[in-house]
């Protein structure tokens, strides 16, 4: 059987509920696709996400959780699943410290085997294996902001920062917003970042602006922050993991048109977007077959306003996206889909090299 085949998922309006082997095949496929995408630091952390996705499968938790919910819009595990893994990981060390030794658990689980339902010792043995795995991975919650100081110019009362926010977005995709910005201290402006003796911290105001704008284009964040007194924004980059197209998940019409029929069991196409707004982008461009630039979705008046903003702040925007498909046979499908959308994109196959 194809390792990615997950037949007959139960379907609700907003989420797929995968169970047993189907859940495991999905988890294997997705974690492999994330690893295959070779994500740079501008994307959400691929290794961490792949490990957390793996921990969602029955092979990891041994059936402690009956099903895996997948967001039908993004094709990624739902918010509930991500928070479940991070909450479990938070408790792992405590749980492992209190569980009896493995030999004792195995012996007790063996003695209670054969009943209609798994007994308490079988469950504890599964928990032992699950939490041992969790203790080896980074269980950071879906949302996290990190601010790093790049340099300080005391003479100009100016400091340069690198801000990174990871977030499971409302649309169900994982987003990393990376911002390079500078702040000039002024009596008249409220600081967005605070530089203490040994640490730099974002203010709630900055966090809120970035947090709330992750769903929208990098350009919006750039313009919003550029308009803030005391701040100079240099670069905004948003990397996304998803959407991931699997059977049962919403799919672009252009992609559906390239498939001979409904996506077969085992079909997977993971997409990884990069959206940049910065002064050093060579030229404006949109090479994203999945999502248009914001300005392309605005009416002429809105487009003119943004053109003026680009002129005023001296930045350009570029969107790109790479794809990972579940088999070499789907590489051509992916290229045709991109061509249909007027883009040329990097496509990797899970079984085979990059094309």
């Amino acid at each position: 059987m194809d390792p990615l085949e997950f037949a007959s998922p139960s379907v609700s309006a907003e989420e797929l509920a995968l169970e047993g082997d189907a859940a495991q095949r999905y988890v294997d496929g997705l974690s492999r696709a994330i690893a295959r995408a070779r994500l740079s630091d501008q994307y959400p952390p691929g290794k961490r996400l792949a490990a957390q996705v793996s921990a969602m499968g029955p092979a990891a938790h041994g059936g402690l959780y009956p099903e895996l919910r997948v967001d039908r819009r993004s094709g990624l595990p739902s918010y509930r699943e991500w928070t479940r893994v991070s909450a479990d990981a938070e408790l792992s060390s405590k749980i492992l410290a209190e569980l009896p030794p493995e030999d004792e658990l195995r012996a007790r689980a063996q003695r209670e085997a054969g009943g209609a339902h798994d007994g308490i010792w079988t469950k504890q043995l599964r928990k032992l294996c699950y939490h041992r795995l969790l203790s080896t991975i980074d269980g950071t919650p879906p949302s996290q902001m990190v601010v790093k100081l790049r340099r300080v110019d005391p003479g100009q009362r100016r400091a340069w920062f690198h801000v990174v926010l990871d977030k499971l977005d409302q649309s169900g995709v994982f987003v990393r917003s990376c911002l390079d910005l500078a702040q000039t201290a002024s009596f008249w402006s409220r600081p967005m970042l605070r530089l203490d003796d040994d640490a730099v911290r974002e203010t709630q105001a900055l966090r809120t602006i970035i947090y709330r704008l992750t769903s929208l284009d990098a350009e919006l964040t750039f313009v919003r922050l550029a308009d803030t007194e005391g701040l100079t924004i240099e670069r905004v980059i948003k990397g996304t993991v998803g959407p991931v197209y699997v059977p049962g998940v919403a799919m672009p019409e252009a992609l559906r048109a390239e498939l001979p029929g409904p996506p077969a069991p085992g079909f997977l196409m993971a997409t990884f977007g990069l959206d940049m707004a910065a002064g050093d982008v060579a030229e404006d461009g949109d090479n994203d077959p999945v999502e248009d630039l914001l300005t392309e979705r605005l009416d002429p008046e809105g487009q003119a306003a943004y053109a003026a903003a680009r002129q005023r702040y001296g930045y350009r925007v570029y969107k790109d996206r790479k794809l990972v498909v579940s088999s070499p046979a789907l590489v051509d499908v992916a290229h045709r889909f991109c061509a249909r959308m007027g883009t040329r994109n990097v496509v990797y196959a899970l079984r085979g090299g990059a094309t």
């Binding site: 509930r80 405590k94 602006i209 809105g302 903003a309």
Partner: protein, 359 residues
């Protein structure tokens, strides 16, 4: 005469098939002490779980308070009410931002944060239920072990009684024969020797009879204590499982609502949805807290009493054991007599049983 000697020899050399390890005052004391140690360990584990229960209860209560504050804040529409907030909101209006009012903190973020913290608390409660489940399973194993020992003791008691009676019957016969002998001679000396040997073996088995009888009674009392512990832990586990499951289901609903809130989280209609989500979460956790408070009260009321009972029982059993030991040393004859009497009583009961059941 040859047959009579054979009967004596058979009785004296008979290997009575007692189950388990051989019993003595010391081994019985040791066995009971082991069982008591196991039970003490379980009670201590229960105390740890009680402490954990207090911790979980406290943290859940804090989360509920926090949720209540946020919910009230949102309900009164004070998220963006400050002068500075309104000023910044006005200043922040640029093309494309008309729907993105600036608030001190993203309500979506507040709700997500609260959800994530609450989820950890609910998982801690579920973990407590599992710990209680393990303790309950260990106590069931303990009960099984006690039952096996009680059954063994009861069987051994029957075997000892039968053997003591057989020995006594033969001793009585020989004593009668000795009394009726006209003149002392080698035969009477042989009879006296066998009487003494029978008496010695009777002393051994009547002591066993008494020890097995004592063991059965004392183990039964330990068994009762274990059942009490199982009942206490089982009830608590069921309660904690119920609230953890209910809270978990509510959190699932809240997770769906968080997703539904979308990016326009500051719109008034969304604020209402948000408040509804928070109220649902607060309600679930409030129920959980009440549950925990109730079970905690149950623990506080029942555990000290249970501990007192166990300690009283412990003292009483030690006294009984000591008294038995003194009696067995000072009044061996009396013990044998009691053993025989008891064995006869048992025999009478055994004989009466088929008649009762036939009737």
């Amino acid at each position: 005469m040859g047959d009579a000697i054979d009967v004596v020899e058979v009785l004296l050399t008979k290997d009575v098939p007692y189950a388990g390890e051989s019993i003595s005052v010391a081994t019985l004391e040791s066995a009971i002490e082991q069982e008591r140690t196991r039970q003490d360990h379980q009670v201590k584990a229960l105390q740890v779980l009680q402490h954990r229960n207090t911790e979980v209860s406290g943290s859940l209560a804090r989360e509920v308070q926090q949720l209540g504050r946020v919910s009230q804040h949102l309900g009164q529409g004070r998220v963006n009410a400050s002068v500075w907030g309104r000023f910044r909101e006005a200043m922040a209006r640029i093309p494309g931002f008309s729907s993105l009012a600036v608030t001190p903190q993203s309500v979506e973020e507040i709700l997500r944060h609260q959800y994530e913290v609450s989820l950890v608390r609910v998982k801690e409660a579920a973990e407590l239920a599992d710990r209680l489940g393990m303790a309950e399973a260990e106590l069931h194993d303990e009960l099984e072990r006690l039952n096996t020992k009680i059954i063994d003791s009861a069987r051994n008691e029957t075997l000892a009684a039968e053997h003591v009676l057989a020995l006594q019957q033969e001793r009585d016969r020989l004593e009668l024969e000795l009394e009726s002998a006209i003149e002392p001679g080698p035969r009477t000396h042989e009879m006296q020797r066998n009487i003494d040997r029978l008496r010695r073996v009777m002393a051994d088995h009547s002591m066993r009879l008494q020890l097995y009888h004592t063991a059965e009674g004392r183990l039964s009392r330990l068994q009762e204590s274990t059942r009490l512990l199982i009942g206490t832990i089982g009830n608590l586990r069921n309660d904690v499982t119920a609230y953890a499951t209910a809270a978990s289901e509510k959190l699932d609903l809240v997770a769906g609502q968080i997703r539904a809130i979308g990016t326009a989280a500051d719109a008034s209609v969304v604020m209402l949805e948000m408040k509804r989500s928070l109220d649902a979460m607060a309600e679930a956790l409030d129920q959980s807290t009440r549950f925990i408070a109730d079970t905690q009260l149950y623990f506080r009321q029942s555990l000290p009493g249970l501990l007192d009972d166990l300690h009283v029982f412990d003292t009483q059993t030690r006294d009984v054991l000591q008294r038995n030991l003194e009696l067995s040393q000072a009044l061996e004859d009396e013990r044998i007599a009691r053993g025989v009497e008891f064995a006869l009583l048992m025999q009478a009961e055994q004989e009466a049983l088929p008649e009762s059941s036939d009737a």
